[in-house]
Amino acid sequence: MPRLNDPRYLSGPNRQAGRQTRLRRLADTIRANRSSYLFMAPFSVVFIIFTVLPVLMAIFYSFSYFNLLEAPRFIGWTNYRRLLLEDDVFILALTNTALIAVVLGPAGYLLSFMFAWFINELPPKIRAFLTLLFYAPSLANIYIIWQLFFSSDAYGIINSYLISLGAIFEPIRWLHDARTLMPVVIIVLLWASLSTSFLAFIAGLQTIDPALFEAGAVDGVRNRWQELWFITLPTLRPQLMFSAIMSITASFAVGDTITRLVGFPSPSYAVHTIMHHLQDYGYIRFDMGYACAIATILFLLMVSVNEVVQMFLRRIGK
């Protein structure tokens, strides 16, 4: 590969000629790799049109008033000011999203790791079965069954058991009462929280060289916790980083599941998340500028939490 930043080309009287040479060399390299770009073209076109462009458009529209009928009109920071200072429901959505993410993100991540770690010690057949069992909730779409469990009448499964045990006398309105909604939603989300990260951990643990543990035992590693801290975790860092992204992103993207479970909007906005707020303003009120400001805030929130956690994980064991 030609050195594009060769100092000879960067300064002095040859600068103009240098730039031309550099550009020509870049063009040559690109031409030489023509086939690579062709291979990447189909994916890239779709990716740019449906992922990159929409992110940029959302940021652009977030500074405008736009109702889909008239052309967008630039209004500066007004949308953000309205969102953060005047919209109480948005603040509620932000709090709910943060609460769910703070519980679900770390819990999903830790549970994924713990189950994978425990399962890894079992014989292969049992391991395969338990992997399937714990992963099945993210494959299965069984919110109808959860609705039966948490049904608000006395025939609801949990209510009927609690009543026949004498723990309660009247059915609890699990999916209609603002006080019980959040815990119920978190339980159901936790139930389905072993997903991509869980598989990544299962796989990562199986590839650790057993000699490492033997060497560790010789060097004075005495129990499973020391083994975990000194050998397993540092070896597994690539998986830890990948899984963190998967768990964090999933913990912010729970809106659909909540809608399937309790409907939209939820009673008293008890489990109203940023995604629901975006749905409300984008697809019901057609206030695109405002909805795009919500999308931009959600985007910044997801990306910054992810980046901070990545920064932190990169330092483990260094």
């Binding site: 590969m1 779709v46 992963y135 069984i142 025939y155 057993p210 990948f242 912010f252 975006l278 990169r314």
Partner: protein, 299 residues
């Protein structure tokens, strides 16, 4: 790895690899097993309940309190009722089934082909832009489609794709997770395989399809799982309003919203829908594990 264990590990079916016996106390093992049993029961219960509720005859559905674990006289009545309800729907029910199968199969196939084609140069070559491109892909794992859905709607409507299959299929072709897993897995395939093909004078297209693609079968099975998981379970989309284009989970959701009166039918529908991705996963499981082993983020 030495598998010569002692004691109960010699029993058939309990072959612990010898290395696992280092640094493990019996009490600790018991605690771990109890913990797994407890959580396993919690995980399995709703799915098990769906299975048995689907088999309960009417009189058992109305037992109070409901029997969580067993069905006394299993019957297929609920499935028969489900098919009866289906035949009454306004749009022929087969249409919903076709939509779901078509969207899942075509979307998944496109995703596998697009992401593996794109992953090949990213994994096996260095060229201007290759590193920054991969950085962007990792970055895009950090947010979801919620962020992009509103402008994407406008793009769709600009293209005239609202209320067409394209709106559901094409975005599914470029799922960053698919590309990411594919690329990471391809890194682990030795270059020598491609070199030998180059010496024989094979073009890039041939190298990719004939030499590389069979080697990365575990990765495409994994991409298939992740892709179909989303597409098969998709109940609604902001881009689809015509009834004829709606999917099976949507239609089943409409049938069973009536609560307890249709609990048995609802459970039957749930079982029918969940059985598909679960059986594909069982079939692909070992390949998925092989692929995920290379999924880590390495600097």
């Amino acid at each position: 790895m030495s598998r010569k264990g002692i004691g109960f590990s010699q029993l058939p079916g309990l072959q612990f690899p010898a290395r696992r016996r280092i640094n493990r106390s019996r009490a600790g093992n018991m605690l771990v097993i109890l913990f797994l049993l407890f959580c396993g029961t919690f995980t399995a219960l709703p799915m098990w309940f769906a299975l048995i509720t689907a088999l309960k005859p009417l009189n058992e559905l109305w037992l109070y309190p409901p029997n969580l674990l067993f069905v006394r006289q299993p019957s297929l009545r609920n499935y028969a009722d489900l098919f009866l309800l289906m035949s009454e729907s306004w749009v022929p029910f087969t249409r919903y089934v076709f939509n779901s199968i078509f969207i899942t199969v075509a979307g998944t196939a496109g995703n596998v082909i697009f992401s593996s084609m794109c992953a090949y140069p990213l994994a096996k070559k260095r060229f201007p832009g290759s590193r920054i491109y991969f950085r962007i892909i990792v970055f895009s794992l950090m947010f979801t489609q919620t962020v992009t859905s509103l402008p994407a709607y406008q793009i769709m409507s600009g293209l005239g794709w609202i209320d067409t299959y394209f709106a559901l299929l094409v975005p599914a072709f470029a799922m960053p997770l698919g590309l990411y897993l594919m690329r990471q897995f391809m890194l682990s395939i030795p270059d020598s395989i491609l070199e030998s093909g180059r010496i024989d004078g094979a073009g890039e297209w041939k190298l990719f399809w004939i030499l590389l693609m069979p080697q990365v079968k575990p990765a495409w099975l994994t991409v298939i799982i992740f892709s179909m998981q989303g597409l098969w379970n998709m109940a609604s989309s902001n881009y689809i309003y015509r009834e004829e284009l709606k999917t099976l989970p949507y239609a089943l959701g409409q049938i069973v919203t009536a609560g307890f009166a249709r609990a048995g039918v609802g459970a039957a529908a749930t079982v029918l829908v969940m059985i598909v991705p679960i059986s594909v996963f069982i079939f692909a499981q070992s390949n998925v594990v092989v692929t995920m082993a290379s999924s880590g983020i390495k600097e």
